[in-house]
Subunit: 186 residues, 2 copies
DNA sequence: GTAAGTCAACCGGCCGGACGGTATAGCGGA
DNA sequence: TCCGCTATACCGTCCGGCCGGTTGACTTAC
């Protein structure tokens, strides 16, 4: 199920994410998470006093991972106009094809948390707000950066719900189209 | 809760959608749907033999409404290159601001159905596939039309999960940026 | 050095409640 | 009378949460 050795807390979180990914939100029960993490239900409840606490833990971890990952994408882009938007494109299209581990994790945590209580997504909302703030002063035409973010979010949603999946060729074409929006303010 | 007079079947579907919108997916129980539809649980089960049947009914209705609405948006656009993409923009941005009734309904049905069984979304997937097929032969630069669809889907997702909400001014800016992608193949 | 005490970590069984689904009886119009 | 529709009562299951108890490592006391 999940690597032993690592501390129980992260083993539980890993197991919970894996369950949602593999068997869906309804399958995420405290018993199942405990079992897959290799501990008893009581043991799980020692670390997370309620299901909500477990979900809060999942979200905190995800929000931090997303923020770190995104910041890394930004700093790896050359400075200048449209830096944040370029980072977002690189981030989204880099994650869309391969293991896209973070993408899958995000989808699972999103759905599980939202199902229990939409307010649990607040940490993620904060991350998105930060991204939007950075995009707003990116030096691009107003709206262009936000349009790029919407597009990457749309790709993410199509992935979450499995509505459609673009081939690599299609992805490249979409990216090429979005690159057009990167030209600085006219 | 829901208008009387109309036949029970649609009253039940309306009530189910309203419950999810108002109180979330977990609140959608057969009892609650029956009560809000002004009917007993047994009565509901006469019309929908199981919860899955109820969700299937919701999805069928939604898929048809979406297809009809989208086709209407297409035919109301002048013919020519990029017609489908223009329709999609008009559709999404027309629905993003006001009552956006269909948008809210879609969100509710999406979440409820996906939670029960992701395969239930197949009718919706068919609608999306039709849209993508229409976009692919829209006469635009390859990828531009799909990029527009991704952007509108992103707007939809931000709405579903309440991740962020654009002001009308921001929406107008985003649309202006996306309009740039409408220029015919270079 | 060892006995006593302490504390975090964990176990596993139990309970109350809710939900999906079934069974069966009742009602009103054609 | 028959049939479409509705109401009521009930069952089995499952899940979240709780609780008493256990282990083992580490400190302290003598």
């Amino acid at each position: 199920m999940v690597d032993s050795q690592t501390d129980s807390r992260t083993r539980i979180l890993d197991a919970a994410e894996a369950i949602v990914q593999a068997r869906g939100v309804p399958a995420l029960t405290l018993e199942a998470a405990a079992r897959d993490a290799g501990i008893s239900k009581g043991g799980l409840l020692y670390h997370f006093a309620s299901k909500e606490a477990l979900l809060t833990g999942l979200l905190g971890r995800l929000a931090e991972a997303m923020a770190v990952d995104f910041d890394k994408a930004v700093t790896s882009q050359p400075e200048g106009s449209g830096r944040t938007a370029r980072a977002m494109l690189a981030w989204a299209f880099g994650a869309a094809v391969p293991g896209c581990e973070l993408q899958d994790r995000a989808a699972a945590v999103f759905l599980a948390a939202f199902h229990h209580d939409p307010a649990l997504l607040d940490p993620i909302r904060a991350v998105f707000a930060r991204m939007r703030a950075a995009l707003a002063q990116d030096g691009l035409r107003p709206g262009a950066a936000q349009a790029i973010m919407c597009a990457t979010d749309g790709l993410f949603m199509s992935h979450v719900f499995g509505l459609y999946r673009l081939t690599e060729a299609e992805l490249a074409e979409v990216r090429e189209a979005l690159d057009m929006l990167l030209e600085p303010a006219r």
